[in-house]
């Protein structure tokens, strides 16, 4: 434990960068597969922040939450890929801007 000397702030900055990257992907990519990947990046950014915080305060909670996020991400991907298949089948495209039948 003592050997690691990466300050908490650095880890948080990396997590923030990862999160912003994911958010940017979510906002600017139109392909749904990339959107799903961006979501994964954002989830992992949050998970990284939890782990770092757990280490900094010497609490196991951070790692527990990490496991939880991992499970959620796995579940989300399985549903998401199912949706991707359906969207491809219905709209013949993966461009989410084309699939906008629910507009007001």
């Amino acid at each position: 434990m003592d050997g690691l000397a990466i300050p908490l702030n650095h880890v948080l900055i990396v997590a923030t960068l990862l999160f912003v990257t994911g958010l940017a992907g979510l906002m600017f990519r139109r392909n749904i597969i990339f959107i799903l990947m961006a979501l994964e990046v954002m989830l992992n950014a949050a998970a990284l922040a939890f782990v770092a915080a757990g280490t900094a305060w010497q609490q196991a909670d951070g790692q527990v939450i990490f496991m939880l996020i991992l499970a959620v991400a796995a579940a989300e991907v399985s549903v998401g890929l199912g949706l991707v298949l359906q969207i491809q089948r219905r709209f013949k495209t993966l461009d989410m801007d084309q699939a906008r039948r629910l507009n007001g």
């Binding site: 979510l26 906002m27 600017f28 959107i35 989410m96 906008r100 007001g104």
Partner: protein, 619 residues
Amino acid sequence: MMQYIWLIPLLPFLSSVLLILTAGKMPRRIVAFMGSGSVGLAALIVLSVGMGYMQSATPHTLHLWTWMQIGNFSPGFAFYVDHLTIVMMSVITGVGFLIHLYSTEFMQDDSDYSRYFAYMNMFVAAMLVLVLADNLLLLYLGWEGVGVCSYLLVGFWYKDPANGAASRKAFVVTRVGDTAMALGLFLLFTELGTLQIQPMLEAANNTWAIGDNIPAIAALLLLGGAVGKSAQLPLHTWLPDAMAGPTPVSALIHAATMVTAGVYLIARTHDLFVLAPDVQILVALIGLATLLLAAFTALNQHDIKRILAYSTISQIGYMFLALGVGAWSSGIFHLMTHAFFKALLFLAAGAVIHCLHHEHNIFKMGGLRTKLPVVFWSFVLGSAALAALPFTSGFFSKDPILLSAFSAHSSALDSGFNLGPWLWAGGVLGAFLTALYSARLVFVVFFGEAKTEPDKQPGWRMAVPLSILCILSIVGGAFTLPLASVFPAASEHAVSGLVHVISIATPIVGLLIATLVYFKPVLPINKFTDSGTGTALRGFWHRGWGIDTLYDWVLVKPYVGLSAAMKSEWLDTIYHGVVSLARSLNVWLSSLQTGKMRWYATGMAFGLIVLLTLVGWGV
């Protein structure tokens, strides 16, 4: 048998409820069986009750339950039976059954067979409650019940807006009279403390003297109701339009039963009218005016049902005349015979319309004498009774009315002016016109050259009621109604033989003239009818003396204009403002919902940033 009286209105009522609940899912055979069977069974019960009653001959009250209890006001759901009730019930269920039987064939091709019988049965039940009621409130229930059923049946073919307008007119115009009648009930209750008819009339006799004001007002208000329901001047305009309904409906409701409810009401409360001689004279005058006006109009119609409608108005005018001169039982007698022959005429007219592709115009008929023999003979006998030719039922009932009118005691009028002969003369003129228009109807429809070919013949379910009613129209005059115990005896006056002869001869003269005009046109009547005055007069009479036009201009148009003006009132702008605000917000907000998922994500991200910033600043 008396304890089974409650079954009489209950049977048609139950049948109606069952037909309504099954909502047309039942097969036609069962509907027809239930619809006419329930009324037929009620008729049988009336018969046996009547038989039993004639032996005891004491009025009987059957108290079923207390309807409501408010302070000292506790009207019961109770039935009162005396001779008058028995007569009315026999007409309603007897003629009603024949008309139901006829309807099973007449309405055969209609898609709403079950709805028709549901309404008809409901009508019979309401009408029976009306005549059986022991208090005026229960009578009012039946009174409004028949009004509703009349509304539903006039507008039975509701897909044509004209029929809807006719049924609304019937409902609204009779409502005017009903309001007056309701006020009359309030007045009677506050003055006498009860609405139970017999105790109330007794109390009226004990409290008031002849010529007092309050009984006059009460009688006037009740007369208002009677005038509305019985289609008398000035509330008669709804009846001709009510012919929009199916023809058996016109026979049952607008000839035999409902329209005579006003006559029944006045006869039932005749003590009040005796206490108010001025109002009673008014009844006679209304009857006389109506019968003349309607007879002139009937002479100038060309729709077969409208002729009969105006003739109904005219005949009820005779009944009012009879009531007005104190010939109570003659009025009720005419009510009964009129129910026979007018139902017969309407059913025969229905058969003509049924067999002639729904043709109503009599000038497009003609020559039907050999083609529809049953209908022809029905029409001949019915018209003979309507015209009161000697030895028909109409003769036996109309003649006493005319004679009573002649000898009407004019003591009611202070001036000593003898009104009787004038009433008689008017009635005789009406009888002349009646003979003229009924003969015209028969000659135009059944003689001359054929213009439309009948495409079917009436079946037995139409022919049997017609034949029975034919017999009743002829021999109906032989019944002597045992009404002496109900009404005060009509004052007997010796009338000179000349009056007798004129009364009897007038219809025959009318018939002869009609023969010379419509059968063998030897009288040069065309010279007059085609001249300017003649055409104008015919048009005026055709439009019913312009009374509809008058009401249209005086009442309907101002009312419609006023409500249109009220509709755009300034206070409404506030509510309209709220509405348009909500609408524009809706348009604006729904434009945000683009359906693009990336926009939603971006929106959420920026929203979160804004929120976090606010939290960070500690706002």
